[in-house]
């Protein structure tokens, strides 16, 4: 991984370039161009060149780099063609169950993260929190409108935020400590039920994107027949919703009336440089890199890890990698108590899984095993979870035996006349199928049969999210969220059965840890609660944690300022331009 310790994309990029240059994968000229593309000054680039390659910086190289600087002024125009490793979700923050990179173009959030993970304004021009942590105040700039021309003042912002809180299933369950939003002059005021350190985090996600509430209502609101997010979307971001074709692509085009961003690190303070951005859905892992290498794409989100070494060696491309707040988990539907009702059985299954082996084989080492709910790179990661769920087949067998399972004539475990065999639903993507197959085979080695059902995304959601035994006994799922705890509490809370607590797990100690976290008004209290939550999860196993992968992005070197970083899921497209 290029940057597990450092979250600054410039440093990450420079580190990559140094490694590639020193290993001979790129030339001195390409190295210099790369440094300048990262925004380093000529002087800084020369210093790094000298440090890495000796002191014989030739005049031709210097000339090349000077030319690059001269041509470094942002160029307006062009369509950014981006490969995307998932199917597209509807562009409706309230009803979507996933948010895609197009959300970063169409919408703004009220605040966001900077490169260091600090909260900075986005749509709001300023924000503050009261000393007792009970009131957050967001200043809304005057005269702002959405793409449709509708007003986006404090009243509209407060209304959409309140609607998200009241209507969105994710909004409702992840904002329990919030009382509600009101308007005071040109500010939106968020009142809390109790001080809570995590109050701002949901506001930075696509699920809290600021849509024009009137347009949203007119298109059908939360009704399943609504056309909002599919035929139209109305935000305040630098691009407008243009085409949305599931399974194929999404297109957004520049909004010329965009007044510029309030976010400090976004350098472009006017309309976007790009004419449009088009995301192509490429769920076949092997196709993504090929299309980038052949020039059909300018940028790529989520290349196959099998292709990464080759992409890193391509001097025309830059690979960006950093920790990702994501994870693969297995649900175990507690409404099948004959299989997953007892902790010993769940622990037995967990010990049967070679997580590091799966990271090495499937992610090519680009990830980490997870023994609790969090990825180990999270700021609140509790390393003591690693005392649980380690790979130990003998321990797995003994736990299962202790739970009363005995091998039948064909080696498959049985208990009280029930054979340990169940259906196991997995989404039809290359990586998820591999993970699912690897898991199923490891279960088989301890006498448990998990019959794979490979289905598309919508069917997966339907089969994983049913009530009671309508949901599949087991499902593999992948989550992605900027702040792990925010989302994992709603997967583990007994308040959210059957969705998104797909396991239908009721664990009082996990609920208690969640309650404690929701009452945490200080960093220390939050860490303590988070630690309890993780340890209880690792022990009680509402889900089986598997592994998490590193976020990986690749771009052609002519694409400038396309800089995904660890605190945002996707790049900021308003700064992006192409030098070709």
């Amino acid at each position: 991984m290029e940057s597990s310790a450092n979250h600054d994309p410039v440093v990450n990029g420079a580190t990559n370039l140094v490694a590639n240059y020193q290993s001979g994968k790129i030339s001195r000229r390409q190295f210099g161009k790369g440094l300048l593309a990262l925004g380093l000054s000529t002087g800084a680039a020369s210093a790094i060149l000298a440090a890495c390659g000796g002191s014989d910086s030739g005049t031709s190289d210097a000339g090349e780099t000077t030319d690059t600087v001269a041509s470094g002024e942002p160029k307006v125009g062009g369509q950014l063609r981006e490969g995307y490793n998932r199917d597209v979700s509807k562009h409706d923050p309230i009803t979507t169950n996933w948010y895609d990179p197009a959300f970063s173009c169409i919408y703004e959030t009220i605040v966001t993260d900077d490169y260091d993970g600090n909260t900075v304004p986005q749509f709001a021009s300023d924000w503050s929190v009261s000393e007792d942590g009970m009131t957050y105040t967001f200043t809304i700039p005057e005269g702002r409108v959405s793409h449709s021309g509708g007003a986006m003042g404090a009243q509209q912002v407060a209304e959409i935020l309140q609607t998200i809180k009241d209507t969105s299933f994710i909004g409702g369950v992840s904002t329990v400590p919030m009382e509600g939003y009101s308007v005071e002059g040109n500010t939106v005021v968020l009142k809390m039920k109790n001080a809570w350190l995590g109050a701002l985090n949901p506001h930075k996600t696509g699920y809290w994107a600021l849509a024009n509430i009137d347009t949203w209502k007119a298109a059908g609101g939360a009704d399943p027949s609504s056309t909002y997010g599919t035929e139209s979307a109305d935000g305040t971001g630098p691009f407008t919703h243009t085409e949305w074709v599931p399974g194929s692509h999404t297109l957004v085009t520049r909004w010329d009336a965009y007044p510029g961003s309030n976010t400090p690190y976004i350098t472009n303070k006017g309309a976007a440089y790009l004419d449009s951005v088009r995301w192509s859905v490429i769920t076949e892992a092997g196709q993504r890199a090929t299309q980038l290498e052949s020039g059909e794409l300018d940028t790529l989100i989520g290349p196959s890890f099998a292709d990464l070494e080759r992409l890193r060696g391509n001097p025309d491309l830059t690979v960006i990698q950093h920790p990702e707040w994501s994870g693969y988990h297995l649900t175990m539907n507690r409404d099948y108590p004959e299989f997953f009702g007892d902790q010993l059985t769940r622990q037995g299954l967990s010990h049967a899984l070679n997580r590091q082996g799966m990271v090495d084989a499937i992610l090519f080492g680009n990830g980490d095993p997870t023994y609790g709910p969090f990825p180990k790179t999270d700021r609140q990661y509790e390393p003591k979870v690693e005392e649980y769920n380690q790979y130990d087949v003998e321990l797995a067998k003994s736990k299962l035996a202790e739970a009363g399972w005995v091998a039948g004539a064909d080696g498959v475990l049985e208990r009280d006349g029930t054979r340990f065999e169940f259906d196991y639903v997995v989404e039809d993507t290359t990586e998820q199928k591999q993970v699912a197959e690897a898991v199923a085979q490891q279960f088989k080695e301890v006498g448990v049969i998990a019959n794979l059902k490979v289905v598309d995304r919508s069917v997966w959601f339907e089969q994983a999210s049913g009530e009671g035994r309508k949901a599949a006994p087991m499902a593999l799922f992948f989550w992605l969220w900027p702040v792990p705890l925010d989302i994992l509490v709603i997967f583990g809370s007994s308040e959210t059965i059957p969705v998104p607590n797909f396991s239908h797990a009721v664990e009082p100690t996990i609920d208690a840890a969640i309650d404690e976290w929701r009452l945490a008004g200080t960093e220390e209290a939050s860490v303590v609660a988070s630690s309890k939550f993780q340890l209880e999860w690792a022990d009680k196993l509402p889900y089986l944690p598997l592994m998490n992968q590193y976020a990986t992005f690749v771009h052609q070197n002519y694409v400038k300022n396309w800089q995904p970083f660890v605190w945002n899921l996707y790049p900021v497209y308003n700064d992006v331009w192409m030098d070709k």
């Binding site: 092997g286 099998a306 292709d307 082996g357 084989a361 290359t430 591999q434 085979q441 490979v454």
Partner: protein, 283 residues
Amino acid sequence: MNLFQRALKNKQLVVGSVLGLVVLALGAFGPLIFGAYDTQDLLLGHKPVGTPGFPFGTDALGRDLAARATYGIRISLFVAVSVTAIAVVLGTTIGLIAGYVKGAVDTVTSWIVDFVWGFPLILVAVLAAASIGSGLVPVILAVGLVNTVAIARVVRGEVLGISEREFVVAAKAGGYSSVRIVFRHIVPNVIPVALVLSSYYVAVSIIAEASLSFVGLGAQPPLPSLGQMVSDGRNFIRLNHWEATIPGAVIFVMVLSVSLIGDGLRDLLDPRLRTAVERASAT
């Protein structure tokens, strides 16, 4: 020269039979030699052909491609034989009835056959999978249905022609029952057509099963369908092309073998059948 001697002189039949025997032997004994198809070793992923202990290499999860490919042959043959058996029995029966009875029965049957024949195989397979779920059963039903109507079309045409022949007219004039005429005079003349067609549709079924598995509608993991192996392997084509090449080559050899056998049988049994088979191939 008897039939056996003529068969030995038929190069297509001999080459096809040899290839077929090799494939059959691999399918029958391969899994016994190479072991279980789902044994995985996560430390041994993406090994190339010739790796000690893995003559065909390994896939992403360190599973032996030789074991999986040879088991895949079993699946392909099972589907192909099942589908063809269904198609030949049903298709021949439907074609016989429609061609001999004629009239309204023929009109309705032909309309249904043409209606089904108008649907692409993949669409029929998707509908079958949507109705009863993914797996080998919907593949067998879908491919079997489409192949049935294909055989019914050809057999019906043959029966229409044979029904006008003198020996059938004479039998009718002699007052024999329709059942006797069909089974004593028509069926024996249709069987060679059905046999040759069946060899063609075995090849079609192998390709259809591989295609449907390639797009995820066939055998479900971890069952190693050859089409699914090609699909999985293409994601690593630049890393270890053998993961796609090996199952692809096995499909090629199987289809080639069955096609050669079919062509050889056609020439052996009745060169005049070439027209009928070519007509079927064209459709």
